[in-house]
């Protein structure tokens, strides 16, 4: 009982937001399957962007608001492939490759600036985002078409600059619904659950085999997988769930990719580089004194974050299908930071679990608050303002808590 209380207290933020979300769902009066179908889409779009925040936090640089930079690189890649006229999954891969190189350069430059402003990384990364937004707009409003002559549908009628919205019709769901030998991979909810239950069962078995241990934990894991698989098969045959089955689509390739990234981050943290990052995050001076190249590793962490964000943005738009060329990236930093903080992360510590939970809660809230306010006030704008207030307030409060904690720790050390 005491343990449960402590668990609840240490996870105040996610619990609180969970409650707000539940109230929102009830007030909105929208069927669960509709909300869930939207949530799966939103989760699919945003999870990689949120995951990209983790590594700089480990490195002690706080929340990297500069993932806006990565998002811009991703959009650049998408615009480039649209101009070149590459379609489908090939287009996505080409965009990812171009965004990769652009993100390395941008991440390197951002890392350099952040190294000059140690202790103020968060505000600097925020301003870096705003500043590069200006450069980005300049490039796509004037340089493309103005200086570099390009012929494409997405150029404005005057011949200079990109249109506000870029249609990615022939790229939509290219990754989400990657057809392998003609089989669609964007499946209904219950097939998705079945697939991932089997996938995780295999994964757990492989882990157990690698570590040569098979105990209580493994049995529970496998049993949970089996239960999910069985439940999905029973539910798919029940008429009560036909709506859910029809509405909700699980994009298996994107989720597999996300799981892959999570596993990679986990493994990366165990390498020498990852350990060095942790050491820097713990105490920069001690790490520097013990021979770790602090500046270099901080730059690497920013580069990784920027590249992941670039790919995250590409996944975002291949799901959405139309790209907001000029404003699509602007709020990425704020939203993703708010999401991971709602998941219970702090400026000092962020885990994959917190990123996943935070993305779910944040986007649930984002989805239901306009619906709820439509029901309550007959106007969806109030809900829109409400969620933005919460989004900014969460970040402000989390940052304040961080300051209180560091100060308390300082006091302890002095005493």
């Amino acid at each position: 009982m005491k343990k449960a209380k402590q668990l609840l207290l240490s996870n105040m933020v996610p619990v609180l937001f969970g409650i707000i979300c539940i109230i929102g769902i009830i007030l909105s009066g929208t069927p669960i399957s509709t909300i869930l179908s939207d949530l799966v889409n939103r989760f699919d779009r945003n999870i990689l962007l949120v995951l990209s925040l983790i590594i700089p936090v480990t490195c002690g640089m706080g929340m990297n608001f500069g993932i806006v930079l990565g998002a811009m690189c991703g959009q650049m890649g998408l615009i480039a492939v649209t101009i070149m006229g590459i379609d489908g999954i090939g287009g996505i891969l080409a965009a990812a490759l171009m965004a990769f190189f652009a993100a390395i350069i941008c991440g390197f430059l951002a890392g350099k600036i952040l190294n000059r402003t140690k202790g103020q990384e968060m505000i600097t990364s925020m301003i870096v985002g705003y500043f590069s937004n200006g450069i980005y707009q300049f490039i796509f409003l004037f340089v493309v078409g103005g200086i570099i002559k390009v012929e494409s549908d997405i150029i404005l009628s005057g011949g200079v600059g990109i249109k506000n919205t870029v249609a990615l019709d022939n790229m939509q769901y290219a990754l989400d619904n990657l057809s392998i030998f003609g089989i669609s991979t964007r499946v209904d909810l219950f097939s998705g659950i079945l697939f991932f239950s089997i996938f995780f069962a295999v994964l757990f078995l492989m882990q157990a085999a690698l570590r040569h241990q098979f105990g209580k934990k493994q049995i529970i894991q496998l049993a949970a997988c089996a239960c999910c698989a069985a439940a999905s098969q029973i539910m798919t045959r029940m008429p009560a769930f036909t709506v859910a089955k029809m509405l909700i689509r699980i994009p298996i390739p994107t989720f597999l990719l996300t799981i892959g990234v999570c596993l990679l981050i986990q493994q990366f943290m165990k390498t020498k580089l990852g350990q060095d990052m942790r050491a820097i995050g713990h105490d920069r001076e001690v790490a520097g004194a013990s021979g770790i190249k602090v500046d270099q590793i901080r730059i690497i962490s920013v580069i990784i974050s920027t590249v992941l964000a670039a790919w995250g943005q590409i996944i975002f738009y291949q799901n959405l299908g139309t790209m907001d060329a000029y404003y699509g990236h602007e709020k990425v930093g704020t939203f993703c930071v708010a999401a991971i903080l709602i998941g219970g992360a702090s400026v000092k510590k962020a885990t994959i679990g917190q990123a996943v939970l935070g993305t779910i809660l944040f986007h649930l809230l984002f989805n239901v608050s306009p619906l709820a306010s439509q029901q309550l006030f007959n106007n969806s704008m109030v809900g829109g303002y409400f969620r933005m207030t919460l989004c900014y307030a969460v970040i402000a409060v989390a940052l304040m808590l961080h300051v209180f904690e560091t100060r308390a720790k300082d006091k302890e050390q002095r005493a």
Partner: protein, 347 residues
């Protein structure tokens, strides 16, 4: 060579670049055959209109709280005051002065609260101020939506309730300062009243920084530990500085609106803090030292640049928002430069 280098360093690289930019744009304007007199008149108005917002940065830097990124808090106070003055149908000077007085009142209340909060988070004022400011702007969005205003100038013509996104002050006190004692030199109009008012506020702020309280504020900002030792109440000094900053921002937006002709509600105040920040930094302020002349010089430079760039850019790329892109790059570039110059904690 050495003296040139030293001269450049003393004058400051950002200012040289911006002045060079202004010269290029003015040459461009001449070549395009722009109406130079109108351009200069507009520039003068814009300088006066925006200067108080830049001056509002000063007390905050003075007490060591950095740039006031939560300027939006002050701005929404000013908006509330302005809308109230319109609601009560106060016209002409009575309306403007009432709006200013209410702005100072609301600004002082909000500023003291904001200052108290900032005292709890010393060292991260800018970052937290920014997010707090945005949160307050959106909170006020909900308020604007539900606010019980009844004046038909304020509320939507059809819906009946809720504030409009832009509230015109044309029937109340539009350009009341700008037109006061305004005179013409050639074709250039000088908004005398605006400059007199802004100049008076600047003078008051200058005298304040020279006063006993001002010195206390400066000492508290320079070295907190030392200030504490010689018996200065650092927290109190910081609250005064931040509250003053918020009050100036609140009054600044009233002055802005009388010149601009509209109060911009809802998300309007969200990005308003960045140009004044850039202005005072461009004027030569750093995170450690700030003088009133920094705000004045900076406002002149950046506003002249932005105002003259607008028509020139529009001529070059019609129907584009190159000047807006320009604004984003320049103001954030200056802030970024200042941050990187302030340096971090070293290794």
């Amino acid at each position: 060579m050495e003296t040139i280098k030293r001269g450049v360093r003393k004058f400051g690289m950002p200012r040289i670049i911006i002045i060079a930019f202004i010269i290029v744009i003015l040459i461009g304007a001449l070549l395009e055959g722009q109406d130079m007199a109108a351009l200069i008149s507009d520039s003068l108005v814009r300088v006066g209109q925006n200067m108080l917002l830049a001056v509002a940065m000063l007390p905050c830097i003075l007490v060591g709280a950095g740039l006031n990124m939560g300027l939006a808090i002050g701005i929404v106070c000013g908006l509330l005051a302005g809308l109230l003055s319109v609601q009560f149908e106060l016209v002409s000077w009575a309306g403007f002065l009432a709006a200013c007085a209410m702005a100072l009142l609301f600004g002082s209340i909000a500023g003291v609260l904001y200052g108290r909060l900032m005292n709890m988070v010393k060292g991260s004022e800018m970052l937290i101020g920014n997010y707090l400011g945005s949160a307050v702007v959106y909170l006020m969005c909900m308020f604007w939506f539900a606010a019980p205003f009844t004046n038909s100038t304020i509320i939507w013509p059809m819906g009946g309730t809720g504030v409009r996104t832009t509230v015109p002050v044309s029937d109340y006190y539009e350009k009341i300062l700008n037109n006061f004692l305004a005179f013409q030199i050639g074709k250039v109009t000088v908004p005398t009243g605006l400059f007199l008012f802004v100049g008076a506020v600047c003078a008051v702020v200058y005298l304040f920084t020279r006063s006993r309280t001002g010195t206390v504020l400066r000492v508290a900002g320079n070295n907190q530990a030392f200030a504490g030792m010689i018996g200065v109440n650092v927290n109190r000094a910081r609250i005064i500085g931040i509250a003053l900053s918020t009050m100036l921002a609140a009054m600044g937006i009233v002055v802005y609106a009388q010149s601009y002709g509209f109060y911009q509600t809802y998300e309007g105040p969200l990005t308003m803090a960045f140009t004044p920040m850039a202005a005072i930094l461009l004027g030569g302020a750093t995170m450690r030292s700030v003088k009133i002349r920094h705000a004045v010089i900076g406002s002149f430079l950046i506003q002249i640049l932005l105002t003259t760039a607008l028509p020139v850019c529009n001529q070059l790329f019609p129907e584009s928002n190159l000047s807006e892109v320009f604004r984003i790059i320049i103001s954030n570039g200056i802030i970024l430069y200042a941050l990187s110059q302030a340096g971090g904690e070293g290794r």
